[in-house]
């Protein structure tokens, strides 16, 4: 298998400067991880001392980075395990797939306090519990999307390769490495990158949390920004923003680019494509003798692992009777979980009056209006701008990565700046929450519209020019239909983001002023601050229902339309 190349003929023996570079980088990385990892298990009382001295900023940034990478690793393992189980066992799939759909719609930030209490209880007196809660929050922002992507490729494996795997008697292990992981690699990488970018928002939100009535800060770039904002320290704020952007760019260049370039080998198409995405980091790694040498050292280990793991498959396809024990176990487990959830829910909600439920429903509608307004207003400027950028290849080439960075940037770090301005113009948050939501979500639309309009086939554009399509007519007949699928993708991502943002956007503060909007997000945030578990649960339940409802009633039909009618090629 090409994951660890077999020893072949050595290309050259002498180490070069690339090897020095690689060696230094690996050493640096190891040291950093050790140092930062050690700080994660600090005693709880040592946590308050976040310094606004910019010299500490790289350290904080490193801690945030470590958190997000640990969460990503967990998400990746979860996605592969969960997706595999859901795809392989039809019975498990019947439970796991709808469950994933619901999990995906639950506003993660609303849960932060509940998970915090849980994890803090696991590690009393240590910051490890808070770290776990933060990592968990990031995990929930990344995992579902990746899981869906992996599951989807597993159920749509190319049929001939599947048959070949069967005829040549690949066991589960060999199938996984020969067929399943390679087939899903590209989709999994692309979705991982998107999820990773989106999760900075949750990182920033989860580093400053309210826990048993007081505010706790985990050292990190998000909490640094929060502290700088509460003190009104503008230079510190600017430094944090600069470091944040640098972090996003670095991760993109040093981590995602090489992985994307490497994953191109898993393309299913049989024709050689002209120029795939390249990466200077990958080139360095590929030229390094050191890397090759290490891979060769690992090769026997890899072979040994294969020998122990691979077993020939059973001679015949599984019969219907098999897995009955599993089926029963799964059904029982499912019923048990359901009963437990119902009971807990009932207990929590029993203290709530019907009037309260109605009130929360009304708040939900208010927030829904805000989310809709944020998406529509966002689309209003991003569609023309995105099309203008995308139709000009020269501009598109540098503007698309910029939009991607903007989409990754945790907008909640910028909230207080907007709030300060809102306070100055004496505007309330009822309207003001809309620009706050847009701050984070409009970039998804922009990014997708640019991608969509860059993908308009040249011949369609030329035909449009020859037949003299102009102005509004050109938009109606050519541009809008062509970018429609990307617009829907951007819209659904933006709406999801706006729902989550409502929890942090409907209550916002600048120094000593706090603004509150009438809405479901504010309801959940305030209930969390007061430690009212039942209200939090009610709020989250209503929000989940609204999100699921919107997905079913609006986005899914739009997706269907995009796939059938406006599908290019």
């Amino acid at each position: 298998m090409s994951w660890f190349p077999a020893p072949g003929i050595a290309r050259r023996v002498r180490l070069g400067w690339v090897d020095v570079l690689v060696f230094a980088a690996v050493l640096l990385l190891l040291l950093a991880v050790l140092r930062l990892g050690g700080r994660m298990a600090a005693p709880l009382h040592a946590l308050h001392t976040i310094s606004l001295d910019p010299r500490f900023l790289p350290l904080y940034a490193g801690e945030s980075l470590l958190r997000i990478f640990i969460a990503f690793l967990a998400s990746l393992l979860f996605a592969i395990g969960y997706g595999y189980a859901a795809a392989k066992s039809p019975w498990a799939g019947r439970v796991l797939v709808p469950l994933l759909d619901i999990l995906q719609s639950v506003p993660v930030l609303g849960f932060l306090s509940a998970t915090l209490a849980f994890f803090a209880g696991l590690f009393p007196g240590s910051s490890l519990g808070l770290e776990f809660a933060a990592v968990f929050a990031i995990f929930t922002a990344q995992a579902w999307n990746m899981t869906f992507a992996f599951y989807h490729t597993l159920v749509t494996l190319p049929r001939d390769l599947e048959e070949a795997s069967h005829v040549y008697r690949l066991g589960r292990w060999s199938r996984l490495w020969y067929l399943e992981l390679p087939s899903s690699a590209i989709t999994l990488v692309m979705n991982s990158m998107m999820s990773f970018g989106g999760s900075w928002f949750f990182l920033a939100a989860s580093e400053t949390v309210t826990f048993s009535g007081r505010q706790v800060m985990l050292p990190g770039i998000g909490s640094y920004m929060a502290l700088a904002e509460s003190r009104g320290d503008v230079p510190a704020m600017l430094a944090a923003i600069a470091i944040m952007i640098a972090l996003i760019v670095l991760v993109d260049q040093l981590f995602w680019r090489p992985i994307i370039a490497w994953s191109q080998r898993f393309k299913l198409e049989q024709t050689p494509s002209a120029d795939g995405p390249g990466s200077f980091v990958l080139t360095i790694l590929r030229r390094s003798v050191l890397v090759e040498w290490v891979l060769r050292l690992l090769h026997p280990l890899w072979e040994g692992l294969w020998r122990t793991m691979s077993r020939p498959p059973r001679p015949r396809p599984a019969r219907a009777g098999q897995g009955r024990a599993w089926r029963i176990a799964f059904t029982l487990l499912g019923l048990l979980v359901l009963a437990g959830a119902l009971r807990a829910g009932w207990q929590l909600l029993s203290g709530i009056s019907a009037g309260e439920v109605l009130h929360v429903g009304w708040l939900g509608i208010l927030t829904w209006l805000r989310v809709t307004a944020a998406v529509l207003l966002g689309a209003l400027w991003t569609v023309p701008v995105g099309v203008a950028i995308g139709l000009s290849p020269r501009v598109g080439r540098w503007a698309q990565p910029l939009a991607q960075i903007a989409a990754s940037f945790p907008a909640n770090m910028l909230f207080p700046i907007v709030v300060a301005w809102l306070l100055r113009v004496h505007a309330g948050l009822d309207i003001g929450a809309i620009p706050l939501m847009m701050l984070g979500t409009q970039w998804y639309i922009l990014f997708n519209v640019i991608a969509g309009s860059m993908a308009i086939p040249q011949d369609l554009k030329e035909a449009g020019r020859i037949f003299g399509l102009k102005g509004l007519f050109r938009w109606r007949r050519l541009v809008l239909p062509a970018i429609f699928p990307s617009l829907v993708t951007g819209g659904v991502t933006a709406a999801g983001g706006a729902w989550n943002a409502s929890i942090v956007a409907e209550v916002a503060s600048w120094q000593h002023h706090t603004l509150v909007a009438h809405g479901l997000g504010a309801y959940i945030t305030l209930a969390t601050a007061r430690g009212q578990g039942s209200q939090v649960l009610l709020g989250i339940a209503v929000m989940s229902i609204l999100v699921v409802g919107m997905n079913r009633l609006v986005w899914r039909p739009l997706y269907h339309l995009a796939e059938t009618r406006y599908h290019l090629d």
Binding site: E163, A164, H166, V167, Y168, R169, F266, R307, R316, P317
Partner: protein, 433 residues
Amino acid sequence: MAEPLILAQGIDKIYEMPGGAGKQVLRGIDLAVREGEVLAVLGPSGSGKSTLLRIIAGLVAPSRGRLTYGGAMAGRRGDGVAMVFQSFALFPWLTVQENVELGLRARGIDEAERRERALRAIDMIGLDGFEGAYPKELSGGMRQRVGFARALVVDPDVLLMDEPFSALDVLTAENLRRDLLELWLERRIPTKAIVIVTHSIEEAVYLADRAIVLSRDPAEVRAEVPIALPHWRDREDRRFTQLVDQIYSLLTQRAAEGQTPGRRRPDPVPAVRSGAFNGLVELLEDAPREDIYRLGEELQFEVDDLLPIVEGLELLGLAEVHEGDIELTEEGRRYAAASLLERKEIFRTQALARCPALAQVRRVLEQKSNGRMNREFFVDAMEQSYGVEEAERQVDTLIDWGRYAELFAYDQESRQLYLEAEEAGRAQGPSGA
């Protein structure tokens, strides 16, 4: 006679369809693969010959019937087969060598032996020098050579081939066919039997010692033709062409002749777009009587592509088929000479008179006061007889014919068939009552 390597007895395959009705693909297939032979399985497209091969390979479980491995195959429990795919089925992320090693690795053979055997197979099939290449760097012919090396390296007793040459151009295919035959005839591979599924009669007669001809819907063994010509066979030889003609007429026999009378569903409309008729009719206008097989060769059409068009012309009464020859009817001649609009007129008359399904669709629409009907209605109605997939195809074809004949129109958005305005008016008039 020695015990057959693979014995299939009474194989049925029924695909369950949503809605209860199953689609039967194979019915009562008996088949023996004997040691030392090349067996060809021939049949029209969609006849289930590939399904049969997959049942033999253990990829698909039969709904009924027995599959026994005997002789050298006994005890290998399906381990003794290898397969070559029409689409090559190579893993694009593996090099040639890694692809070839696939089956060995799964069998737990250690690295040194794996390499050695793979390299030997690669050399034998003429791929040396390409061990480190990825499939996408290779031409189609070279890719299929990788497919062969991958199959042969596991020393299968029976080599199964699913249309292995049909994705290749004529010259490449011929080259590869000869190389394979050479390996087989000179006993340079330990393979004891080869089963090849193909729709090319010539290929079957060139390679095989025996051919099995399948019928369609569901597939049954229609005939078994021994091919006792010595190798290497000459395609110009009289005995060769006679065999080709004999199998051709077996294949083109109308399905009804071979089948027991009784509960027969209505004949499906051949899945041909109306536009395809014009081309063939114009070609036939100049040649009064053509051998269908020669025609296919001339047009570079496979049997599978040509037969539905011929069947369609026959159904519409525009052409007749006698013993593998096709001839235009009186109506067909008129059609060929007519202008575009007159052609539509003739097509409409013929279709309404001779294609009951189309007439039925038209009647249903006329009976509706608004002249509209959902597409699903027709699919559901046909599902009983054909199963969902075929019913969808039937309705698609009917819609295409109906549009061409201007019998009705179709709105893709609402998925409704409807009579156009003036038609609807006519339908509501006295004649429509």
